[in-house]
Amino acid sequence: MRAAVVAEYRKLVTTRLWWILLLTMVVYMAFIAGAMGWVLSQGQATSGTGDEVTLSPQEVVRTVYTIAVSLGYVFPLVVGGLSYPSEVRHSTLTPTYLSEPRRGVVLGAKLLSGGALGLVYGLAGTLACVAAGGGVLALLGEPTFLGEASTWRTLGLSTLALALWALLGVAVGTVVTSQVAVVVGALAFTQFVEPIARVALGQTSWGGDVAAYLPGAAGEAISGGSFYASAGMTGGLLTAWQGLLVMLAYVAVLSLVGRATTLRRDIT
């Protein structure tokens, strides 16, 4: 298994995709976090219903520092999501299964190596938010709470949540095996379908509970900071533990589906 993980890890880092996506994520997250740090600390945020929302300074930093979990999770999702489809696209499944005929081991190795790279994305994305968002807050004379343990706990959980997105990506890739479908699907779902679904469900009496179980909401629950909830657009979140379990459940179910379908296929 160790050898398989090393092999899968090398597959990820020997092409250019991983650092191009990582760089894009860092720049994008730094920009958003900086902008949000300024907007939220001015108390000007308006909710989806037009009501004024005021956040405590602590809520402001939590929202700013976890922007990557709220808006940047598409990057680890895509980098993990291409793990299996890229092998399908380039017919490299043949040498992969020749060097490790136990396909379950290959899937396990992809999940582990994808999760490891996800941690790198999580760390880089979270630090980008802290550096840019915290920098803006400091410049504005607002508190940054960087001396407090609870803040660092939030940062750690943000990293973990983003790593889980890469894991979820690997699992998705075993079910959706086309590179184009994964990228288009990930963009459409994370930037469009899920945000709208969360806002729409949040307006109903019953939908808020359902929306909390969507993967984006579950990811936010892990880090505890929610751009959507802070902006007053959606209902509450699950607890961090519940969010973690919901994310892992998505990973497990999709991996099992992939193992039972895609991974059983003949490689012709």
């Binding site: 092999a7 090398r10 597959k11 020997t14 092409t15 490299t92 020749l98 005929p101 136990r102 012709t268």
Partner: protein, 340 residues
């Protein structure tokens, strides 16, 4: 006379060794219902170590599917395909036992040649330095750091071969390794494969053109439409060739009488102002010459016509006469290629 699909593999009396490749009653049907395609149909053969074996058949005969079943990439509908008595999936660290190159396109274009090999080195169980060793073996050291996307087909073939050699395996299964190689590359490959077999390895090389591997292989396994049509040492294949004699005489009537008296099978006859020319089957020049001398027939030409192994191969793999359409899984017969 027509060697039908009844040939059986040589009897399996010799004991198996770890390097023997064996295919028994192997069958693969793709799809189901009326659209089912039987790509491999009750195939039996074995491949011995220390020899280069040509695995031959027209395109679509089932060669690649058979190799993929041997390698656990495609699951057989029935039958077994084993190396050293074990299925591929049962072999611990299989890349140490079997090296396989199936298609020259199995590379991520954005990865360098060395990185491609380094990806697989941990699972093969060799240090990263082995990547440079095998690159040197196949003559790719100079381009180790270049991305595979810019490689020619011949370079990809060499890199595929390098990948199979990572684990220094005693059994090599190579699918159309000569595809895309220039004449110099083919000559190189020939020497390389011979050297590998000389070291006692089992080398199986597939091809749809016999002439491509004729100078390399010791044994041939020929399949068509998913079935075995012939398995033997290369020398025995030559014996299947029908002998032909071309004989010409200015006296057409005398030659007609001679042929009729000899009772020879006639393949072709041409008549013209300068007499007649016959092509006779299953007879040799001394017999025809002696008969003509005895009958006092004047001959202007008496010549044995060599039938190349390629013709034997085409005969063996041609669809059976009268078949309205090729059986499932067999595309256009190779014979039609020349007519295109």
């Amino acid at each position: 006379m027509q060697p039908g699909p009844t040939s059986t593999p040589t009897s399996t009396s010799t004991p198996d060794d770890d390097r023997t490749v064996r295919v028994e009653h192997l069958t693969k049907t793709f799809g189901s219902g009326p659209h089912a395609v039987r790509a491999v149909d009750d195939l039996n053969f074995e491949v011995r170590p220390g020899r280069v074996t040509g695995f031959l058949g027209p395109n679509g005969a089932g060669k690649t599917t058979t190799l993929r079943m041997l390698l656990g990439l495609v699951s057989p509908t029935s039958g077994t395909a084993t190396v050293g008595g074990r299925r591929y999936a049962e072999i611990a660290r299989p890349a140490h036992v079997v090296g396989a190159a199936l298609e020259a396109a199995s590379f991520h274009p954005g990865r360098t040649a060395r990185d491609h090999l380094r990806v697989f080195a941990p699972q093969v169980g060799v240090p990263d330095t082995r990547a440079d060793e095998v690159l040197a073996l196949v003559g790719l050291s100079a381009v180790a750091q270049r991305r595979v996307g810019g490689f020619s087909l011949g370079m990809r073939q060499r890199l595929a071969l390098a990948t199979t050699l990572l684990g220094d395996p005693p059994v090599l299964l190579l699918d159309e390794p000569a595809n895309g190689l220039d004449p110099e590359g083919i000559a190189w490959l020939r020497g390389f494969l011979r050297a590998l077999a000389h070291e006692g390895r089992t080398v199986l090389v597939s091809s749809h053109v016999l002439s491509e591997v004729e100078q390399t292989v010791d044994d041939v396994v020929i399949i068509a439409r998913g079935r075995l049509v012939h398995a033997s040492p290369l020398g025995e294949l030559a014996r299947l060739a029908r002998r032909r004699v071309e004989v010409a005489s200015p006296d057409a009537a005398a030659l007609d009488a001679l042929v009729a008296a000899g009772g020879w099978a006639v393949d072709d006859v041409r008549r013209g102002p300068d007499g007649a020319t016959y092509v006779l089957l299953d007879v040799d020049t001394p017999a025809v010459g002696a008969a003509a001398f005895g009958a006092g027939v004047e001959l202007h030409r008496l010549q044995a016509r060599d039938v190349g192994l390629e013709d034997v191969f085409l005969q063996l793999t041609a669809p059976p006469p009268g078949a309205e359409q090729p059986p499932a899984g067999a595309p256009a017969p190779a014979r039609l290629d020349g007519a295109a």
